[in-house]
């Protein structure tokens, strides 16, 4: 099993609904977020192009954060989901520094927090909160080992890219272009 997510940059409008849905679902403290939106603009007026992306932890196969964690708090859960066990985390911040995607934040309660792909929902057969709320339906989630999952189907149909491939982390967040 290999969980992954695809985000359609042609449909995302950057409304940040994914951010607030994640914050309320997971009780993320104010001032922090587990997912965020990026807008990239190229060109000069009026020849312009814009890409909008909803970003989060890439749940990398080759994860620097898991590798560098001194206590083993950062670990792989089922389907390759990268999680932090709060009780084992000492808040040293090594993982924050190692993540090329800037996907982790220090929780005020003294541990490092990040996107969990809403593992508590997946286990109940639901989709991650961000995927389920998105008004443009621009996010696809599922198991890459299942050819019929939403994410497998859309990655077969569309062109895509990953972010910072040169970091060699084998990220599992795909952007449809």
């Amino acid at each position: 099993m290999r969980y992954a997510m695809a985000v359609d940059t042609k449909k995302c409008v950057g409304c940040s609904d994914c951010v607030v849905a994640c914050q309320t679902e997971n009780n993320v403290p104010m001032g922090f977020c587990r997912d965020w939106v990026v807008e990239v603009m190229d060109g000069t007026y009026p020849q312009l192009e814009m890409e909008i992306r909803s970003e989060r932890c890439n749940h990398c196969v080759n994860s620097p954060c898991v590798r560098c964690c001194p206590t083993g708090a950062s670990h792989f859960a089922e389907g390759g989901i990268v999680l932090v066990k709060e009780t084992e985390c000492i808040g040293c911040g090594a993982c924050i520094a190692s993540c090329p995607y800037d996907a982790r934040y220090p929780h005020p309660d003294g541990y490092v927090d990040k996107c969990t792909f809403c593992i508590h929902r997946i286990k109940k057969g639901m989709k991650p909160a961000c995927v389920e709320v998105c008004p443009t339906k621009c996010m696809y989630f599922g198991d890459l080992d299942d050819a019929n999952s939403d994410v497998s189907i859309v990655l077969k149909k569309r062109k895509y890219k990953v972010l910072i491939p040169e970091a060699g982390t084998d990220p599992q967040l795909y952007f449809l272009i």
């Binding site: 409008v13 409304c15 940040s16 607030v20 309320t24 807008e39 007026y45 312009l48 934040y105």
Partner: protein
């Protein structure tokens, strides 16, 4: 393409960005524990609601934690407005409930108006105060001298109250400050409005044309969802905007038009469509009147002519006209929503309506569908007494085509020097922050200072509450019942809003407030049900449903009576215009002395060193109403002024630099605003998001953040047809330091 790259992280902080310094904080009312999240029960307690954060009124479910605290709100899968997906504002609606700055108890003013010195009062004291002042005004000036300004779900209760006590002066800013020109233009053309939610069949369209409409930044949920579906199906999007909007970024064609010249472009499109015979001949012949006059009217409006006016290249005008024709009738030239821009707005939307008629999109799949609405029985109440004077007597002959009352007419009639037919002496303001809603703040304040009574009902201490004599704190939509939602849609439907929890503090539902006031005024026979819950139950039983059923379902969709969502082939359609036809040439406008066909009239241009002020929406906020919502402030807590790089270079401005904006009349923003240098805006304009720069200190989270566009809209271009307040005729320049004498403005 030169590689000038702008990279912006929209949602506030990234994660690691915060590792250096700034600390986050937890919401005061911790919502749900990590333990509880891990052991999430799928069948947590949930109650139905429909959202009140904007006018789209999406139906959803409020979930509570096992401790009974409101945890999250999600969409109802059965609801046509949201299809199970709430927008960021609706998702963040929990913040409206948890906002610690909410109004908590009734307040009565004790010092001079505007000084904001109040004493806490009981509800009864507040009601006694209001009813005695109301009686004084009525005796001295007549019952018509009370005006109601209202917005949202509470409107129906306070409207009943006003009708009962004999005042016809009831106005909603959604008319003259927003969509009024659109409604009148479509009435004049098709004999029908475009409703809310709009009856645009975006889901099935092949071509969507947006004239300044920034879907995706305005978060009109159903429209965004359908635009996304249309993108999936390969529809062409054409966006006309001086700003590279989000929608422009999704468009096949972006027409970077010079602001205020849209009518010229629309006329050129008509010219192309008529003279190339692209129009739907059968449809026009069968349903429309005035085609020959229109053809003659647009004869000279060639793309080359329009190029000189709009700066949009002729080739692009031609190509896009052809795209629309190719998609016809599955094409939508979107009527927009907030359309009060330049004072000739009804005529601009008339041009949009005419284009749709030529393309045969009205009543067609992928164009505009016929809505269906569920009609509920209303309780028997005594008939209203006919008021002796109406709003038309305030300024006879003004705005003859208006089908609703322009708020600005009531404001004007509150000032003696304007010599109104009779004076308005009391305002009752429900859920609308008039100082931010109606342009020219100083004018509104002058009117307020002339009043004998000003009552404000709201959930938050908005600027307008500071000027009230009596403040009545309403509970939020999450703590009350409201009328069943029956908005028109593809299928008739009803939706229930019920309280998820008890009202916080000493706040009360709007229905209760209106009914208690009616008792004090001896008018309680107009409110035969003691509370909204009983009324809803009675209405539901009449249709064979029940409150219990609706509590379980939240939304109930019904089948249409007839299979008539689109015109049938060869259907004889009687349009509700004077001629019974779609009026390309408006005999209705003609009889009132207005142009029967839209005419392009040049607008004033920015003086040297000034830039046109354009404003718009951010997807995470609704007007200025959500600016203090903790969840939404977390996404966006201030606005920035968008400035083209060429202009920024000329002025030596840097990104994030704090500046003040000053308009052509010398009005200066109350607070500095940060600069955002971006290619997304034309060099002759600047852009800011509406709803920031709050001056009300009681709103601790948003006070002083960013700048208010309303502060800079002192020049109002009033639409002579229906009274709309055009707000895009203001020009601003930049101050890097705020001069002392200008602070006083």
């Amino acid at each position: 393409m030169t590689n000038r790259r702008e990279f912006i992280r929209i949602s506030l902080y990234g994660a690691g960005a915060l590792a250096v310094g700034a600390g986050g904080f937890k919401i005061a009312n911790a919502l749900i524990s990590p333990e509880e999240i891990k052991n999430l029960k799928v069948d947590l307690e949930r109650t139905p609601t429909y959202c009140e954060i904007c006018f789209w009124k999406c139906a959803g479910w409020v979930y509570k934690t096992s401790e009974g605290k409101i945890w999250k709100i999600v969409g109802n899968d059965e609801d046509q407005h949201c299809n199970g997906r709430f927008c960021p504002r609706g998702t963040g609606g929990v913040g409206m409930y948890y906002d610690e700055d909410r109004l908590k108890t009734p307040l009565i003013r004790v010092e001079e108006r505007g000084k904001q010195v109040f004493r806490e009062a009981t509800w009864d004291e507040a009601f006694v105060h209001i009813s005695s002042r109301r009686k004084d005004i009525s005796m001295k000036y007549g019952p018509e001298s009370m005006a109601l300004f209202t917005h949202g779900s509470g409107s129906s209760y306070f409207t009943t109250l006003f009708n009962a006590f004999g005042s016809p002066n009831i106005a909603e800013p959604s008319y003259a400050q927003c969509r009024g020109p659109r409604d009148e233009a479509f009435f004049a053309t098709f004999g029908e409005e475009v409703y809310s939610p709009e009856i645009t069949d975006i889901r099935d369209t092949k071509c969507l044309v947006l004239i300044g409409s920034h879907i995706g930044e305005n978060m009109h949920n159903g429209q965004i969802q359908e635009m996304s579906d249309a993108i999936d199906k390969g529809a062409t999007i054409i966006t006309v905007d001086p700003r590279f909007s989000t929608a422009a970024g999704k468009s096949k064609y972006w027409l970077p038009i010079k602001p205020s010249t849209d009518i010229a472009l629309l006329l050129a499109w008509m010219h192309e469509i008529i003279y190339n015979e692209y129009y739907d001949k059968k449809y026009v012949e069968k349903y429309c009147s005035g085609f020959e006059q229109l053809k003659e009217h647009v004869k000279d409006f060639t793309p080359e002519w329009a190029y000189g006016v709009t700066t949009v290249k002729p080739d692009l005008i031609r190509k896009t006209a052809k795209e629309m024709a190719n998609a016809s009738p599955a094409v939508i030239v979107h009527p927009g929503r907030h359309v009060t821009w330049y004072g000739d707005d009804t005529q601009r939307i008339r041009a949009i309506a005419i284009l749709n008629a030529l393309l045969g999109s009205w009543g067609r799949r992928g164009g505009f569908y016929r809505p269906a609405r569920f009609e509920l029985e209303q309780p028997q109440i005594p008939s209203y007494k006919e008021p002796s004077r109406s709003w038309l007597d305030l300024f006879p002959g003004k705005f003859p085509v208006a089908t609703s009352i322009p708020t600005n007419s009531l404001v004007d009639a509150s000032i003696d020097e304007n010599n109104p037919g009779y004076l308005i002496k009391g305002w009752f303001v429900n859920a609308t922050n008039l100082l931010s809603t109606i342009p020219d703040m100083d004018h509104t304040l002058k009117a307020i200072q002339n009043l004998d009574l000003m009552v404000v009902v709201d959930t938050m201490p908005m600027e307008v509450t500071g000027w009230a004599d009596v403040v009545l704190p309403e509970c939020t939509y999450l703590e009350r019942y409201d009328a069943l939602r029956t908005s028109p849609h593809r299928k008739p439907a009803i939706a229930l809003r019920m309280p998820a929890t008890e009202p916080l503090n000493n706040t009360k539902p709007g229905y209760w407030i209106a009914r208690e006031l009616s008792k004090k005024l001896g008018l309680e026979s107009y409110f035969p049900f003691e509370n909204q819950e009983d009324l809803i139950d009675w209405q539901l039983k009449k249709i064979g449903s029940s409150l219990e059923e609706m509590k379980a379902k939240g939304v109930k969709n019904f089948d249409r009576d007839f299979d008539d969502i689109y015109f049938a082939e060869d259907e004889q359609v009687e349009f509700l215009t004077d001629s019974g036809k779609i009026e390309l040439y408006s005999t209705y406008f003609e009889q009132y002395g207005f142009d029967p066909l839209p005419v392009y009239v040049p607008h004033e241009e920015p003086p040297e060193g000034f830039y046109r002020l354009i404003y718009g929406r951010a997807p995470m906020h609704t007007f200025g109403r959500t600016s203090n919502n903790p969840n939404l402030t977390d996404l966006m807590d201030e606005n920035k002024v968008w400035i083209n790089p060429k202009v920024a270079k000329e002025w030596g401005l840097q990104n994030e630099q704090e500046i003040w904006l000053k308009n052509q009349d010398g009005a200066v923003t109350d607070f500095p605003i940060k600069v955002r240098i971006t290619e997304r805006i034309r060099w002759d304009s600047v852009y800011i998001i509406h709803g920031f720069g709050h001056t009300q200190k009681q709103m601790t989270r948003c006070y002083g953040k960013g700048a208010s566009d309303t502060r800079l809209i002192t020049k109002v271009l009033v639409d002579p047809v229906m009274g709309g307040t055009g707000m895009r005729g203001n020009f601003v320049t930049f101050l890097t330091e705020k001069a002392e004498q200008e602070v006083a403005l």
